[in-house]
Symmetry: C2
């Protein structure tokens, strides 16, 4: 039989994942979980793709600000406009999800969902990562893509749970991860209903339905969007802690994965800041030791990035 | 080859459906639609199962009111409590979706999602329909279940779009239609995040996230929940009109189905009240002429029900 996770090293980690999946999918196992209940949830930034030196969302926000017409720009905070013009990614890195979501709302109001997706696809294909010099869409983690495919083959339904707005992740999720738009959970833009030339369309407004955010907000987003408790969860930062604990608190057997950024040579090394005792029951995925290959498309790795802290 | 829709008669209607599906799934057809975009949306009440003499939701609301403890009952409108005790379904039939949703919120606040699902399953399995004398869960339309299965086999993703709260439909959708919980679109109850004995759970609150409703609300729910425009839509009442028109307004080939309740002998006969000229471009499904068999489980049909108007 072909190995299910070829880009993972032969470690206790990959073995633990494969064993868990075998146990919950084998009908004669005491831990068997019926297919209806095989929900898996994944954080996006830092778990499925690179989030350093700032999240792709932060780069996209900067990119969209640069696209605005002069009459739109004068309605925005001049410090923001200035930072975008200078390409000051450190400025955007310091903004939290609420702030990034709000700028995205302001700069994309009036677009149809299709127009927004076109903008996001253009960004993902053309904007280059400052260190790796490749488009952002090439910076997904190959071992995690293999895990998603392995789970789907075993009748799991993987979802992405994002702390930011769902629309940017949705625009990327099919192309990047093979996860369809309806399997992205998080705060959604509110849409207005319009008629134009006898046709009906929906248009992005400036308000969100639900609140963006991590921690508890991710657990509530799971219930709103999916309607049942997951049996597998993967995250990499303190904002994923509640989602992993929620997964562990169910009746079914469960598996929680914590992706550890400990590979400054091939990517970045930074702390998850998770101090919860629950961590002991999770499986830690060391990017340095457990990932045989890293990115979906190999990059020629330049000099190691600086060790970064407080930026999960 | 086995016929894909055996409970449908050999009419222009079933032929039209099968032809549409062949055209959009055949890669060499000019109307081919890639699998990612094969979204199908279905109204629930009156389209997938019986909604007369009142919706199953109205019966469930009455059932839950009867279950309340005396201290809960004194917080509710006495007229409501009285109608539930008398089993006055006409009273509940007159309530609109907003009112039914609100009573459901009040009577189920404090439950976990699992407890609510248990209540709903008990109702669906045990409460008997006043005319047909069988549990409500047996009153799904067999031809429509075949259509759902046919679409899934052709890589469509069918969703249910409901004007009421999603939770009641979700509790039923896997059992009744084979549609998983995350494929039910509509207004969702807001949940609180709680910790109990070191475990995390979510609890129903008394508020909704998003607004319940039909018409435009269904189109907006499709964007929130699915994130893309459907290519097939089925409904039976004036509240489904915008959803069907939205489906017709896309770039892809599309099919809109209007289920017509014209069979007073086997079910009920009542008007959809749709007067839109767009109706001419939809395919009308006559329950009398196009459905060879009607319910998922055959019922011994009692005397015809009275012709009912203004109750779609």
């Amino acid at each position: 039989m072909r190995k299910p996770l070829p880009s993972w090293t032969d470690s206790a980690t990959s073995e633990g994942i494969v064993q868990f999946v075998r146990r919950v999918t084998n009908p004669s196992s005491p831990l068997f979980v019926p297919p209806d209940e095989r929900i898996a949830v994944f954080d996006s930034d830092g778990t499925l793709w690179c989030e350093q030196p700032a999240s792709a969302l932060a780069f996209f926000v900067m990119h969209r600000l640069r696209d605005q017409s002069p009459e739109h720009l004068c309605l925005l905070d001049p410090a923001l406009v200035d930072a975008a013009e200078r390409g000051d990614i450190e400025f955007f890195q310091r903004l939290d999800l609420d702030q990034l979501s709000d700028i995205l709302l302001q700069t994309n109001a009036g677009l149809t969902p299709e127009q927004f997706v076109t903008q996001a696809h253009r960004f993902l294909a053309r904007s280059l990562h400052p260190r790796f010099g490749v488009p952002f869409r090439e910076l997904t983690y190959r071992p995690m893509l293999e895990l998603l495919a392995f789970l789907q083959a075993k009748d799991f339904r993987p979802f992405i749970v994002t702390g930011g707005g769902v629309e940017f992740v949705r625009a990327a999720s099919e192309q990047l991860y093979g996860v369809p738009t309806e399997r992205v959970a998080g705060a959604t833009v509110d849409y207005s209903f319009e008629r134009l030339d006898g046709k009906i369309l929906v248009i992005r407004t400036r308000t969100l339905l639900g609140e963006p955010g991590e921690g508890e907000a991710k657990v509530r987003a799971i219930q709103h969007r999916i309607g049942r408790r997951p049996i597998l969860a993967a995250g990499n930062s303190v904002g994923d802690e509640e989602m992993l604990e929620y997964t562990r608190s169910g009746q079914n057997a469960s598996l929680c994965l914590l992706v550890e950024h400990d590979d400054a040579v091939r990517e970045y090394a930074y702390d998850s800041h998770i101090e919860s005792p629950a961590r002991d029951s999770w499986l830690t995925v060391s990017m340095r030791h457990d990932f045989r290959r890293l990115f979906a498309k190999p990059t020629s790795v330049p000099a190691p990035g600086p060790r970064m802290l407080n930026v999960s």
